[in-house]
Amino acid sequence: MKKFLNDPAHAVTDYLVGLAAAHPTIVKFDAAHRIIVRAADPRTGKVGLIAGGGSGCEPLHTGFVGHGMLDAACPGEIFTSPVPKQIVAATRAADQGSGVLHVIKNFSGEVMNFGMATELLAFEGIAIDSVLIDDDVSIPDMPGTAGRRGLGATVLVEKIAGAAAERGDDLASVTCIARRVNARTRTFGVGLSSCTPPLRGKPIYDLPDDEIEIGIGISGEPGRERVAMRNVQEIARTMIAEVLADLRPTPGAALLVMVNGMGATPLSELYVLYGECDQALRSAGLNPVRSLVGNYVTSLDQAGAALTILELDDEMTVLWDAPVRTSSITWGALA
């Protein structure tokens, strides 16, 4: 294992320290509570937005703290959801008197730890609502199971609901748009390699040079199925077929198309994949009008990519375009 790190046990803390040092006008690292918060308090009365999850998926969520997205993020250990204490502290930090939305990816650990935190917070009189992100179509949506994972939709929900909160929407409205975005988003991921967690020091699994994992998540675990390596056109077709079959977009729908790298895939390959997807979607009579291409929800040093598609409506589009200033997503003018 070759990584830029000192003690592997401190990899997450060292990352958080570096993040805050690099972006002092955007975020602060609250080391006592192990959370990342905005450098400047948003104006009083804004609905707060927080999220958390296992580290290793950077820039998710810490890179999305700032104007127009999150108020605080709770980074857990690598691939381990945060503990209730962090979530409680982040909720307190994010509350401006108008309540806080918890953006929770549907992983057992995350759901349970947010659940415990919410029980603890019940004593504090902070209005709390939550949105459960479960956009992964690689898993059948079956009762009696843990359900579908929350993947790329998380970024879109954080951006769009974050913009709603920033413009002054109340908690119910912010929650509502967050749920609408999740409901209209689907993701399918493909892994070309296994990642290597710092503490483990070796890849999680062996993957021969002519095989790939399809239907992957974001914690380095194997995917739904191992198949032979194929060219990007076939991979794009698989991704699109899986996503569209489940999303069932309106003919001619305006789409936000996200091609997300898993951490070790170069940007140029992501654009090759984007090009294939864009073309296939247009052939299918759909209309990609917004894109996001890059490494936004990763699994450490895994090679691979995921396709996320959101069927946009006008409100979502306006909120997507709204100004944002975080360490990893920035655009538009701030007032």
Partner: protein
């Protein structure tokens, strides 16, 4: 009165859990790698080490205080599924011990059952979902049955540990329906669940310390 478990014994139990997890850390990580993210051993190691490393405070004079300390340390330190599940397990055991200074076998069995219920409440697992509950549920039943049948606590715990190990082995044939491994469905068949394996160690530790 069928046996007696006091605070010092519970402390010994926790230290033995910590030791066994340490010994099996790679196995647990590797089992978790087959369906999860290869960190179950490291997660528990972090939790039990934090709960036991600095020894237990003199103020922990009751099973309730000791187990509450262990449970809340695990909740505060571990994170992930196992942090919530194991943390809830020990917190509910603490609660079920009431204010007693020591507990008899029957009470201990009730505490174990309360811990199991906590796991169900927290994460909705059922027997057959391929989680640590698959080791715990048969152990709870075995302990009850053995005590009812008049066994000593020592031999009842022995039977509980064996039942947990059988439960662990039963997960090999299962496809996961809860936790991270559930995303892999049938691909998890053929390997024991990591959590079921660690829970069997916890019960084995009970059998060697609570006597």
């Amino acid at each position: 009165m069928n046996g007696r478990v006091d605070t010092a014994q519970l402390a010994a139990w926790m230290c033995e859990c910590s030791r066994l997890i340490d010994v099996h850390i790679d196995t647990l990580n590797d089992l978790d790698a087959t369906g999860g993210d290869a960190d179950h051993g490291s997660n528990l190691e972090r939790g039990f080490t934090a709960a036991t490393a600095s020894g237990f405070s003199e103020k922990m004079t009751s099973p309730r205080e000791l187990l509450k300390h262990v449970g809340s340390t695990i909740v505060d330190i571990v994170g992930g599924s196992s942090g919530a599940v194991y943390g809830t397990f020990f917190l509910r055991m603490a609660l079920a011990s009431g204010e007693l200074k020591w507990v008899d076998g029957a009470t201990f069995a009730q505490m174990l059952r309360a811990g199991g219920q906590g796991i169900i409440d927290r994460g909705g697992a059922q027997v057959g979902d391929k989680t640590l509950y698959d080791s715990l549920a048969p152990a709870i039943a075995a302990l009850d049955n053995a005590l009812v049948a008049g066994e000593t606590l020592a031999s009842a715990l022995q039977m509980a540990a064996e039942a947990a190990e059988a439960g662990r082995d039963s997960t090999v044939a299962l496809a996961a329906r809860k936790g991270r491994a559930s995303y892999l469905g049938d691909r998890t068949i053929g390997y024991a669940d990591a959590g079921a394996t660690s829970m069997a160690l916890v019960l084995r530790a009970a059998a060697t310390t609570l006597i």
